[in-house]
Amino acid sequence: MSLPKALQNREFRSTHAGAFSERLIVISLALCALATVLITVGIIYMLITESTGFFRSEAVTMSGFLTDTEWTALQSKELEQAKFGILPLLSGTFRVTLIAMLIALPLGLVTAIYLSEFASARIRSWLKPTLEIIAGVPTVVLGYFAILVISPSLQMISDGAFSTFNATSAGIAVGILCLPMVCSLSEDAMRAVPRSLREGAYGLGCTPFETSVKVVVPAALSGIISAFLLAFSRAVGETMVVALAAGTLPTMTLDPTQQAQTMTGFIVEMIKSESEYGTVQYYSLYAVAVTLFLITFLMTLCGQIIRRRFQESYQ
């Protein structure tokens, strides 16, 4: 059989012609990646420049910011009366987050175990979309679910012990929000556990329960922990639900029936009120944003470290 014409000609495209456009493409792709760095730089630059307006003020001291137990930036018209102690906002945030985690973590983890270890393909095929739909429910909707359904139910059950706006109903709604996330990330981690480990466990006579709890979960622990951390920072950063349902009064208490303004809730209120742009009270929102950013940053960092340190086991 004779060589086809295309090969007889041996007219191959000059290989250097594409090099320029190739380089151009690589550069533009690199610029895309650079943009993500620029976003971080932008966030940090913004937070620093804008929060100097707060920290420079004579009414504010760093130690006061970190230790004072009152935060009245929205409540005080005059600067002299304003108190800037981040603790009440932190306490609000952590109350809501704690409740959310108490719901999302166990439920999410057990659902994940169910999905990855027990559920048949048919159940998976509708349970997973269900979870995805919950994950896709806008947070505004969940916020109203919190004040229209959860909060009244709580009040009814507890005979009015809960205030209209309270940490618990916001926490529950945030928990619902985080549940699918915990679930699908943990499930991914558990599915990444090689089949061979499960076979090893069954081969030694483990029951399905023992296999999943004693072998699969510990083996997927790094992934599960980073799922928890992600859910945690999502809960800390959640805004609309807490703005709607957690209340607008910063309180320093452990009582879950009370209202709890969170850091994000405060930022939204401050923005919405546009309380005197340029005042120290206004700039305090950036100080809160810095705190928020630092917390979530530490969370992701922890998650990354855990993932990198413990994940390599199966390669």
């Binding site: 594409g18 976003i39 806008p138 909707v141 950063g237 992701t300």
Partner: protein, 409 residues
């Protein structure tokens, strides 16, 4: 050494059997616990859906889809401008975030550097993206406010009667002058853009709203006033003052963006960018490296490999991830509130790039907070509409994924 250890020799058969039974029983209980807990999420969804449906189903009318928010005729309020607004905001968001996100993912996954310093940078960028994914959306809102809305005040502020920022294209300035016919105006072309008002004492050349030139005459108070509406339309009072108005084409563009839908869309793009990058990276990682090797082995360059092999193979995954990210964008309210404000009384979708807009979540946020029962029901109805949109998006994503899974199995 070969004698069996005590533990094996002294096995109590009864204990072994009981133990096995107990463990099996426990495993069964655990299974039912799992089922019960997995059902909780379903129950939550059902309760959510039922409570929303029962509230909103009576308001699912064509009015809802075609009319705009109304304070005076609450029962006939609608969400058309919000639908359009969400469309424009999310469209902008998609146009920006998709190429940027996929580009970044391709760069990070397919152009892995071999040099040590570059590898370090690569790892840094990767960590940075993980961090961005964890940044609360409200912080992105604040960033959008400084960067897009005010642009660090580099271009000044938008002020009525004084400054419209740095206008770049798509605009024409006129003086708008009232004629003697009530409600009727004529437009005088503005020659000097810095002059915001001018006084008309002499007849002048103007244009009507369709852009046709017309001669305008002057009526001096004290002289008889023309009665023919035709003539009154072409007559202005001596000393009438015209104020600048701007005719904006759809591509009207100025800096800063102010509280326009463009700012909102760009801010949302920041929010979902890390999500898209991570999803795209994941699905590029899922492309078997054997395909890349095959392409490289045939002499394709890295980019040719990406373009012809990796990207097409990863496309379904990228699409799924992007659709889910868009779902997030559509439902996102916090950054929009920060960037575009909470006002909802708008009667149409955005008319030009710098126009403001209402989005569905913000409208829901507003309506649900109102006291009138009509608004409460309307908000539930609007939630239904929003959820239907999201459901459509999600099922597209799920459909794509399942099709791909089938094709791969």
């Amino acid at each position: 050494m070969s004698t069996l250890p005590g533990a094996i020799v002294n096995q109590d058969e009864q204990y072994l059997a009981d133990n096995a039974r107990r463990r099996k029983q426990f495993s069964i209980w655990f299974y039912f616990l799992c089922v019960a807990i997995a059902l909780i999420s379903v129950v939550i969804l059902v309760v959510l859906m039922i409570s929303i449906w029962s509230q909103g189903q009576s308001r699912l009318t064509t009015d809802l889809l075609t009319r705009s928010h109304s304070e005076l005729e609450i029962e006939r309020s609608g969400m058309w401008p919000a639908i359009m607004g969400s469309l424009f905001v999310c469209g902008t968001c998609a146009l920006v975030a998709l190429p940027l996100g996929v580009g970044t993912a391709v760069f990070l996954e397919e152009f892995k550097p071999t040099h040590k310093v570059l590898r370090w940078i690569h790892g840094f960028v990767q960590l940075n993206i993980a961090n961005l994914a964890g940044v609360p959306s409200i912080v992105y809102g604040l960033l959008g406010l400084t960067v897009f809305v005010y642009m660090f005040n580099v271009f000044g502020q938008i002020r009525v009667n004084e400054s419209a920022g740095l206008e770049i294209m798509g605009y024409k300035h006129f003086y708008q002058v009232l004629t003697l016919e009530p409600g009727h105006v004529v437009f005088a072309p503005q020659t000097d853009p810095t002059v915001r008002q001018t006084t008309f004492d002499e007849p002048f050349q103007a244009v009507d709203p369709d852009g046709n030139p017309i001669e305008i005459s002057i009526w001096t108070p004290g002289t008889p006033k023309p009665t023919d509406p035709e003539i009154r339309r072409r007559t202005v009072r001596s000393g009438a003052i015209g104020g600048t108005i701007t005719e904006r084409n759809w591509y009207y563009f100025r800096l800063p963006f102010d509280k326009s839908f463009l700012s909102g869309g760009l801010t949302l793009a920041l929010v979902i960018l890390p999500i898209i990058i991570i999803a795209a990276q994941e699905s590029l990682r899922g492309v078997p490296s054997s395909l890349r090797e095959a392409s490289m082995g045939l002499g394709a360059t890295t980019w040719q490999t990406v373009r012809d092999v990796s990207l097409p193979a990863a496309l379904p995954g990228i699409m799924t991830g992007s659709i889910l990210a868009m779902g997030r964008a559509i439902g996102e309210a916090a950054p929009i509130l920060v960037v575009m404000g909470a006002a909802v009384a708008k009667s149409s979708g955005p008319q030009h790039l710098m126009d403001d807009a209402v989005t569905m979540p913000v409208l829901i946020f507003n309506w649900a907070g109102r006291q009138q029962d009509e608004f409460k029901e309307l908000s539930a109805a609007a939630i239904i509409v929003l959820l239907v949109v999201l459901l459509l998006l999600n099922s597209t994503a799920i459909y794509i994924r399942q099709k791909v899974q089938k094709a791969q199995s």
